[in-house]
Symmetry: D2
Subunit: 243 residues, 4 copies
């Protein structure tokens, strides 16, 4: 059965900046979506949604039909309505996968799921080297043990997130900083992957290794075992209820 | 140097219920505080704070002088103001320890730090057997490998929290349920311990093993290595800033 | 592509005990193998191997063609040769999945991979209730949130293993004990799942929920991302080797 | 009560190499021991032991009186007798802390406790930058958020160890590699910390930040809650044994 993927993006930088438009003329979401399709082929159905659509393109119906949501935001985190944040949050707890990309570390829904500030260190214009520290993990399938992103914003430690359940990638930068650049968590029944490479002014989402990682992450985060747990619906449990 | 402990409690059940008052005539907080003092002696200074005090007794000054905050709430989670929740939350990220007790699993600040619903299964009036599954951990010091709480509300799985960084205790109940009853997490620079035994109608906080666990947890959660991280104050990091 | 599963078992109890033979007339391995086939169908190819075959049925060729090995042993752990243990160990580090069942907790290869004594508490003849504490995990697919094993040897804490990377199931027993009955670890590139239900004198491996769990675990442990890492072959790394 | 620390070192390079002797004229162990004393003062009693002493200086009596053992080895891992390895291993499971330094990653006892190959990538003569990724952890007390080791052997990923329970430090090297340079695990009741900086030809163990880390680690690894668990002595548990 195909994984139903919704690629969400702010789609604001592209409208306001000539530079960003020169890299992502149809929006970053279209390139991210194409990369996932390239990696997963018929194993996925990919649609996109953006901030300025009604309900940010994330209606109840859209989310109910989404197995994995990818999230890229940066300049307009504050414009995402709390109602939609709550809606996405609940779907993640209910089993929807969530892939948070780059500056999405400050997205409301990511901070809500992490329970921390999600702050990090940054500097524009560096180069990034990405190292696998969890070989064998599905997200590393066909990913070289080390690869480089020629131009990239530096994201550095301390990254204020809970220690990841599984740490997949660590990056170094030419300036000497390090960053936990690929991190897995579970919240409720939902799987979350944060992946830091991917700035709006660099062609990161066209790069082959990056597409492989994101495609793998979609597959890893897709729900396969979602149940309705009676803890949610009926917490008061008479003696012997399960016998 | 003494650990500065603030024991917070709703102190509402005790005012409304004759039964609760018969068990905790001066409030649960006084008994919890006495237990911590009994365990830690001069290694701690313990004060209390309750919901109906101004700012719930948790002023900026009080929190600034608190190394570890213990939290018991149940019937009035909704009466805790969002401003105080935010204040406590930030102090935890900054390094203050937090011990969440029993029905505090639904406290706003705990849910905010966990990023999940914190739902669980429950049934009144059962008996609990507490097993150590992490011997050697400081929280297990002088705690028998197994002990019983004669009367206790059943709290059962699935407990919707992120997988604990360290799982210290698992409980079973006469009815057959199990529960991860002692769990550690870190958020920011702060340490969090959740401990489930302790209902308002049972004399759990008078029990020796329970007092030992809570006292140990206070010691474990006390900050020893809190720094001001420049990630928070100055995330934009020019090349070579650290050299 | 089909998962190539090798079901290994001692096949000694069945030869020596009328009682065991009455439950598993053709050996436990045949029933475990049938259960995996029942769950995974054409997604797997299942063969068996037993202790008294040459090289315990685990030749280099067999292991090279095995994606996931399941292991049941009890009375003859000491009869497994150290050479074969080393061979299995290296295949796990290289990416082969390993499912360790019940009394296999004392298998040489499991102790070698864990780095601990793997001791536990036990008592014959109890009943077990298995609780899911990690809903959403692939190993829980189609597994009820709680199910019972009517007759089962009690295995209880403290179970001396490293804290699992992911704790999937916790069991309680009628006698009040608890046990971390479903645990995941990664070693090298290999995934390991320990599952405790399954004694030789009880028909546990015929039970539907048990078969579902083991089948799911095989799927979860199957290698999808095994690489040859140059750390192993060429650790001395000249400056710029990866550029 | 003072922490009883035994600093173990091969003490072979110093005898064979003029260069090493010029850096550590009385042996690396004396400098490591002095650093711990400098950090912990009267909170510790430090003795040393070396490979060529009888029983490598690690008699049953010495280990029984050791709270925390630090381990530096490199050229002579194979000369450590299996009997002493087993002895140290059992003491760790029983609660003794173990601090493994630099090339000790290939020590027999570390590999036995990890259950993996412990392989890594290396290159002589680089410089190392050490980043804290777990602020608030006791091992980071008084450690700057980032510090540099001017000359150091490069140790790089993939480091074949089980994912650490707590990842404290990540290092980058001028050559672009990264390494999980400060890692915590628990085995049985014992705490283990691996810390990678510290080559025999560089004066790393004289550096202030390095001494602070190792001293902190000794304090963190010291046993505070070691019990005799009946799982070890009496696993067969009659019904109701704990009541």
């Amino acid at each position: 059965m195909s994984i139903r993927v919704t690629v969400w993006s702010e789609f604001r930088h592209e409208k306001e900046s000539e530079l960003v438009r020169s890299v992502y003329p149809d929006g970053m979401h279209t390139v991210i979506a194409a990369g996932i399709k390239e990696r997963l082929g018929n194993d996925c159905v990919v649609t996109t949604a953006t901030l300025d659509e009604p309900e940010h393109g994330l209606t109840e119906a859209v989310l109910a039909d989404t197995d994995v949501l990818t999230w890229w935001g940066h300049m307009a985190h504050g414009d995402v309505s709390d109602e939609i944040v709550e809606r996405v949050y609940k779907r993640v707890l209910g089993g929807m996968g969530l892939i948070v990309l780059h500056s999405g570390h400050f997205a409301k829904v990511f901070k809500k799921l992490m329970g921390t500030s999600c702050a990090l260190r940054w500097r524009d214009d560096d180069s990034e080297t990405v190292w696998t520290v969890r070989p064998g993990h599905p997200i590393t399938q066909d990913v070289p043990e080390v690869f480089q992103v020629p131009q990239q914003e530096m994201y550095g430690e301390f990254f204020d997130v809970p220690q990841p359940d599984e740490l997949i990638f660590i990056s170094s930068f030419a300036g000497g900083e390090v960053f936990r650049s690929g991190c897995c968590w579970t919240r409720g029944q939902g799987r979350i992957f944060y992946f830091s490479p991917g700035h709006e002014t660099y062609p990161v989402y066209y790069q082959s290794e990056i597409r492989t990682v994101i495609g793998n992450a979609v597959r890893w985060a897709a729900p396969v075992a979602t149940n309705v747990y009676s803890t949610q619906s009926c917490p008061n449990s008479p003696l012997g209820w399960f016998k």
